[in-house]
Symmetry: C2
């Protein structure tokens, strides 16, 4: 695969890209969608939680009268695997500016019975209908230029446990949050990266659902080595992202009792805060 920098010109376009093809849901009947979960978005053997959220978000965008996720909350129940899945949606309420829906993703056990993987509640609207008023005090976090950041192709496995998803993403990690990959984690719960899709597709609200959960866990920089499964993840999409690379900054302040939160913020090339998320995850304290 060609190495595409987050700073290079776009190649694939929204609607015709790996991400779009791999999140395609097929309506079986009203409110019910089939999908074949792609093996291309796995980390170790599990399907990435952000990719799954985008899949569910896409089904809800079809089922609801509004197309943009404003706030979506997912509870992860069992681990998803590549292969067939069905999404069942429920329209909870439709309003003039916001609609609320629910969706569950199921896979199949050995007897073919449905096993629920994820359940989400979400409110959708139209990002383009929002007024332009901005009174934000949020400032983009400091990021080194992308040329000074490091991706999976920049050395001998800087990203441990390299998996299929690393080939779909153009992640360039801030070297100050990369100590874990060199055996000397900073001890701080911080992870930052320039984020793009490897085929150059620009960001849209659906791909923001992927972006918030696509970096290595902050727990790695806190010196933990085990996996950090998500219990719950809520994303607020605040603005349609401008073309160009995203900056994703994730912070953990409170690792306690075997759980930690991961707060993500995503900034677009126009310096706007386009998404905020928080997840509760389990950590193995070592």
């Amino acid at each position: 695969m060609a190495q595409v920098s987050v700073s290079s010109a776009a190649q694939a376009v929204i609607g015709d890209s790996e991400f779009d093809r791999d999140t395609t849901v097929t309506r079986r009947e009203p409110g019910v969608y089939d999908i074949d979960l792609s093996a291309g978005w796995t980390i170790i053997n599990a399907v990435n939680g952000g990719y799954l959220l985008a899949v569910l978000g896409r089904a809800l965008g079809d089922a609801l009268p509004h197309s943009d996720p404003f706030t979506i909350s997912a509870h992860y129940l069992t681990a998803s695997h590549p292969g067939p899945a069905v999404i069942r949606t429920d329209v909870v309420r439709t309003g003039r500016t916001l609609s609320t829906g629910q969706a569950s993703l199921f896979q199949y056990d050995d007897e073919g019975a449905e096993v629920e993987r994820i359940r989400v509640l979400a409110s959708y609207g139209d990002l383009d209908a929002l007024p332009d008023d901005v009174r934000t005090s949020a400032k983009p976090p400091h990021f080194p230029p992308v040329e000074q950041c490091f991706g999976a192709q920049d050395g001998p496995s800087p990203v441990q446990g390299s998996s299929a998803i690393t080939e779909r993403l153009d992640l360039k990690l801030d070297p100050t949050t990369l100590g874990w990959a060199l055996g000397s984690p900073s001890g701080k719960g911080e992870m930052r990266a320039w984020f793009g899709l490897a085929d150059g597709r620009d960001a849209d609200p659906l791909s923001l659902l992927l972006a918030v959960d696509a970096l290595p866990p902050t727990a790695f920089e806190m010196g933990l080595k085990g996996w950090v499964p998500t219990v719950e993840l809520t994303v607020h999409v605040r603005c349609r992202p401008a073309p160009g690379p995203l900056r994703v900054s994730i912070t953990t302040r409170n690792l306690a009792g075997g759980f930690l939160e991961e707060d993500a913020e995503v900034w677009d090339s126009a310096d706007r805060l386009v998404a905020q998320s928080r997840q509760l995850a389990r950590a193995k304290l070592s």
Copy 2:
């Protein structure tokens, strides 16, 4: 009603207090609960969203095999009013350490048909079973001593639109976030208060669901005057709170496009971060 300071000795106890009586749900049949929403927790004419979340949280704690909310996400659909309501719960998954459930609260229209007010997804566990390990970098925000903070009884309506809920709470607002009440908001999206229940009942995981949504909106300190209805609210309960007053700090960084987030953190008397929450709310930009 006697004025009870957050720093005074407790009077009511957990299980026998205004909050406990007003959140009592009665099982009609397995998974279905009746409640009479109390007029005591209204703000203007609407029932407070934190009180409603505690009501739903209590029903789920009965329906699920685990009793403590670890993470609960609520989407607010229509405004609730004092009076009868029914809660319908659904056990999504039960596990050894976590169980996930869903609940909806309905009231009735003029024809007696059910109208959904709120839908929640939540994962429950046992806070007392968590290991003691803490590797937190979170520090309590600076709070003036409670004697230097201001409550509803400390002046001519320092809390505008005083409502029934102010009599149930012992809120003492940090004077640096009280400018709005004096006609000179700071412009910063910050609100901080010492929080207690007026009858002296100590905090527990359920009352934390109330505490995160009980302060005046940060939007007031940003110079907005209209109401700020919650679209979605997610709470993570991280630790069983110690007896004594709580400190609640709420921050808004991004007011844009007519929406804003409110991030709350709740600290107990033992200086532990016991709850984190984020809500997405609508703001009328003026």
